[in-house]
């Protein structure tokens, strides 16, 4: 891990710790994006971390920037940091200007979901997109809009689309977006639909890995403090065994996400990215169940902070492809490579 990354992560950690209080998390649950939080993220250079310095960003390496999202997941940062970072990176890479505010990006589920006509350099886009993160709050939407075989990055400003509020299980905005002949700046891109999905999958994997660390920390702390039958429940062997299993899931999630982050700048088709979404998604379900089991009734209340992590895990695992979708892809690839190439596919990843 680079020194630059260590510094960046440490900065982010301090900021998240200061801002992402239980009060803010509660207020942000199906609530508005906190302007204070967003200013802080923006002032610290995090929101444009992945944008080149030339374009007004911090010019952080892709892997180092994505590593931030582990911390964002750990603190349940209730803001579209992942969306804005990646949307900015997409725009910048395609040579488009990067607005300095909330951004989001969307991958149309199928080529025909958005129809495209042209007005000179400007694209006119018509379509509907479901569950776009923070689309209402964004100043613009970055969209993959392919003309035939040629992938394009398009920027649709907020006043060119209509958005209806929706939420994931964690109360994070997942809005329905609707646009007709929306005027979009666009540029050719070397990234196709699979690359875009991979970027989303890496982001959610990193966030899940962070949330798993939080689950483990909360559960261990609770087990040390909660007394039943005259001693902390963490002294009971059954609880110890459960927490050890949770630690294993957290470790696997962290390693998997770290692998995907490392692979990102090199190859967005790396098996490590599929592995991360698969493994973190699996860890999410197992981990959330153990954490709730250890916490008992208290962890099932709105007052306790556990659910800020578990509800996010239950949401994120299904965003940008669930375990089954990524496994089907990875499995088909392994099968095609064949039995005798299985091991070298693994070591080359």
């Amino acid at each position: 891990m680079s020194e630059a990354r260590d510094m960046l992560v440490a900065t982010a950690e301090r900021l998240f710790q200061d801002y992402c209080t239980p009060e803010l998390l509660k207020a942000s649950n199906k609530g508005p994006l906190s302007p204070n939080l967003w200013s802080a993220l923006s002032d610290a250079g995090l929101t444009k971390a992945l944008v080149s310095e030339r374009a007004g960003g911090a010019g952080v390496d892709l892997a180092d920037g994505l590593a931030l999202l582990i911390e964002a997941g750990r603190f349940s940062v209730p803001a579209p940091l992942a969306q804005t970072m990646i949307a900015g990176w997409l725009l910048d890479r395609a040579g488009l200007p990067v607005p300095a505010s909330v951004l989001t990006f969307a991958v149309p589920p199928a080529a025909r979901a958005v129809t495209i006509t042209r007005d000179g350099d400007i694209l006119l886009l018509t379509g509907k997109l479901a569950r776009v993160p923070w689309a209402k709050d964004a100043v613009g939407l970055v969209l993959l809009a392919s003309e035939g075989e040629k992938p394009m990055v398009a920027y649709v400003p907020r006043d060119e689309y209509h958005a209806v509020a929706g939420y994931n299980l964690a109360g994070e905005p997942r809005d329905e977006v609707d646009f007709a002949s929306a005027r979009a700046e666009a540029a050719a891109s070397d990234l196709d639909v699979e690359d875009w999905r991979a970027l989303g999958a890496i982001a959610r994997s990193a966030q899940m890995a962070g949330a798993m660390q939080r689950l483990l920390a909360l559960s261990v702390q609770y087990a040390q403090e909660r007394v039943q039958f005259g001693r902390p429940i963490g002294k009971f062997q059954a609880i110890q065994q459960s927490l050890a299993a949770l630690a294993g899931q957290a470790a696997a999630a962290i390693a998997a996400a770290d692998g995907a982050i490392e692979a990102a700048p090199r190859d967005l088709r790396s098996p490590l990215i599929a592995a991360a979404k698969i493994r973190c998604g699996e860890a999410a379900g197992i981990g959330a169940a153990i954490a709730h089991q250890v916490h008992g009734a208290i962890g099932f209340t709105q007052e306790h902070s556990l659910h800020y992590s578990t509800r996010r895990l239950w949401s994120w695992r299904d965003e940008f492809g669930n375990e089954a979708e990524w496994s089907a892809m990875l499995g088909a690839r392994a099968a095609k490579a064949g039995a005798d190439q299985l091991w070298s596919m693994i070591t080359a990843a």
């Binding site: 997942r174 609880i239 008992g296 009734a297 099932f300 209340t301 239950w314």
Partner: protein, 384 residues
């Protein structure tokens, strides 16, 4: 070792005839209930529905007629319960009173308590909640701190209970208090009281505890010098522990222990359609096999209870296996239909999935955690 015998569940033609009646009733009465509402399972509260159940004679089914009961068999009661749960009927109003508090009153209540209350429960008009857990006392009842201190003509109660489901909508609470000191025995000095929630003048405060999905089922109930008359004692003074234990023992194996997520299974089947992929068919078939097996185990325990046996360990096993299964359903379902669960979705499956995922953690909390339950099973196996 044959400690684990599960006898074949008995056949009952009357019970099957009753099943047809119940289905006809449900087809009419809850036709307009959406899958999202059905998915709440026994969390659904509907006083009007409870009264209709009472009018049908489907509450207090096994109780003596003199208390408003219907003197029917445990197997007939089982049929009504499972049909209600499978259909996602809103049985939450009378649930606790019918299943737990009424039978407790029948066993240990005074004639006056029984005469006053049981017929109203049977009519579906009188609901109960349980004041047992406390902020620092979950599964460990010996650490109960809410105290009822003897005063002129009764008791003054001070303390706090938590997780009392529906306290804000119930008529009575069965309240477990400390009335004596812990002696040598960890569980001495506890007493159950019958609290008439609608007729307390002062010292009672019911505050909502919202669950993680923001819903209000649980409450915190705070007692500050709340006066209870002497005749509020339920059973005998100091016998709270024994009464609670016997109250819990046989309520572990009912159909509510494996049908909490059944609506999701129904909606999954609907979403998969008549010709699912091999993968989906295998997953669905396995889940059906589990339901069939759990239902048989649960009916076997009901039959053993009916026959006057004491299947305590079997009941605990049914709960352990059953709640694990209920929690597994959403995890399997989400992998078969790739989409984000969404409480507001117009796609029924996704809305029910969202509800079930958010509520599944509570399935193993109700009535003691899995660790406690497995400890009891281990004791039954002779290990403790």
């Amino acid at each position: 070792m044959h400690a684990l015998s599960f006898t074949t569940p008995p056949h009952s033609p009357q019970a099957e005839a009753l099943r047809r009646e119940v289905r006809a009733f449900l087809a009419k009465e809850i036709a307009s209930r959406t899958p999202q509402q059905r998915g709440r399972s026994w969390g659904g509260f509907d006083a009007e529905f409870s009264r209709k159940m009472g009018a049908q004679g489907w509450i207090a089914m096994t109780w003596p007629k003199r208390y408003g009961g219907h003197e029917r068999s445990a197997l007939e009661r089982y049929v009504v319960l499972e049909e209600m749960l499978a259909a996602g009927a809103p049985v939450g109003g009378h649930w606790v009173a019918d299943r737990q508090s009424g039978p407790l009153l029948l066993r240990v209540g005074t004639d006056k308590q029984k005469d006053d209350i049981l017929p109203r429960i049977a009519a579906g008009e009188c609901y109960f909640c349980i004041g047992m857990s406390e902020p620092d006392s979950g599964s460990d009842l010996a650490s109960v701190r809410t105290r009822a201190s003897a005063v002129q003509g009764g008791f003054l109660v001070n303390g706090t209970k938590v997780w009392t489901t529906n306290a804000h909508r119930c008529h009575y609470m069965i309240l477990l208090c400390r009335t004596g000191d812990k002696g040598e025995e960890r569980h001495a000095g506890l007493t159950q009281f019958l609290v008439d929630l609608k007729n307390i003048d002062s010292g009672l405060e019911i505050r909502p505890i919202l669950d993680l999905s923001g819903e209000h089922h649980f409450n915190e109930v705070v007692f500050t010098d709340m006066f209870l008359p002497e005749d509020a004692v339920l059973g005998s003074l100091g016998s709270g522990w024994e009464q609670v234990t016997s109250e819990l023992a046989f309520e572990r194996s009912g159909p509510e222990r494996f049908l909490s997520s059944f609506t999701l299974l129904v909606e999954l089947t609907r979403a998969l359609g008549p010709a699912p992929s091999e993968r989906a068919a295998i997953a669905l078939g396995r889940l059906v096999a589990h339901v069939l097996t759990l239902r048989r185990l649960s009916r076997s325990v009901a039959g053993m209870l009916q026959a006057g046996q004491n299947p305590a360990i079997q009941a605990a096993l049914v709960k352990d296996v059953g709640t694990g299964f209920e929690q597994e359903i959403p995890e399997i379902a989400r992998m078969l239909i790739a989409a984000e669960p969404d409480s507001q979705s117009t796609q029924t499956f996704l809305a029910v999935l969202a509800h079930t995922i958010l509520h599944a953690p509570s399935f193993t909390l109700r009535g003691g955690t899995r660790e406690i339950l497995r400890g009891m099973i281990a004791r039954g196996l002779g290990l403790r």
